[in-house]
Symmetry: C2
Subunit: 197 residues, 2 copies
């Protein structure tokens, strides 16, 4: 895009790399701005120069709002994935506990958030976090209950399907079949979400 064509690899000459960085960085920012305005979208751009200088651009909302939105999006994505996974898993196992489920859901969410806390976290931060967490606890609980309910519904549906199939088989005169290989009766799924304050 200039007098000479450039290979897509690190520019070895330090000077021209710096010049290129300066020009292309401006170009990228401009393009980002144009995209945001023309197409009416939200975006965030973060660039660290080779000398660790920070260049950033974000639309109307502040950078941290967009990053928060990103986090939310990722979490929802993870939740959706986990729920889908659970549904598949449910096709093979008959029983699951809410505790197991809770664990599975929590792990990815925690990892995502914790990475964003920096080493300079402060001691008072803990207190504020506690206060903050108390405030969102109700919504959190609602969310969990919703997930558990969704899976519960799924389980119920599977059971109905099994029952339906069983009925068909029975109707065909194939009674005497027993799915349980040991003496223990199948236990009802544990259905409790633990809430601690």
């Amino acid at each position: 895009m200039g007098r000479g064509k450039v290979e897509l690899k690190r520019i070895e000459d330090k000077t021209s790399r710096q010049v290129s960085f300066s020009k292309r960085r401006n170009g990228l920012m401009k393009k980002a701005y144009e995209l945001a305005v023309l197409c009416d979208v939200d975006l965030a751009l973060i660039v660290f120069s080779p000398r660790d200088k920070l260049f950033e651009f974000s639309t109307g909302e502040s950078m941290s709002e967009i990053l928060t939105r990103y986090q939310s999006f990722k979490e929802t994505q993870e939740l959706t994935r986990v729920i889908a996974q659970e549904r598949l898993a449910q096709q093979d196992t008959d029983v699951f506990t809410a505790d197991e489920l809770t664990q599975k859901i929590q792990r990815p969410l925690e990892e995502n958030n914790i990475k964003l806390l920096d080493i300079t976290g402060l001691d008072q931060l803990e207190q504020q976090l506690n206060s903050f967490l108390r405030q969102v606890k109700i919504k959190e609980m609602e969310l969990k209950m919703g997930v558990v309910k969704a899976l519960k519904d799924q389980e119920m549906q599977l059971k109905k399907e099994r029952k339906y199939m069983m009925d068909e088989i029975m109707a065909a005169g194939m009674d005497g079949i027993n799915n349980y290989t040991d003496d223990a009766e199948p236990q009802p799924p544990v259905m409790a979400v633990q809430i601690t304050w």
Copy 2:
């Protein structure tokens, strides 16, 4: 950049806005990629489409690493700003407490981090955060001590300067001057950083 020139404002026609979004988004990603490769820099790009679909691009390091780095950078920036402010403030006041200082430093940092915690924060997150915070507490303390020390040094220097000026004045035969307008003796600055576990 095409057959017609486009005004820099929201494209009103929905279809061409969508087409433009698709084309320009790809272009932006490509440019971002080229910048990263050619100039050997780290960057992150987050775009939310009008229909809330997420498009993202980040270099080698994962997105969350870059966001963490961004957070760190911002915190350092804030710290630097606060320190500079403190230095200015010190020119008018004679005494400051480490407690006051700690408060001032903590506020911006907390705000920055807390915004990144989403409503789906989980109850176990609190525990992990506590564990995490314990791990970084030592570094945190070191940081604070460093800041306090820097300001302490600054204060000492100001005192020396005042003393020097005072000496000059005294030497000029202008004794009997008293800077204190009430009976209380000036107290030494409180010098303690509170560490709780």
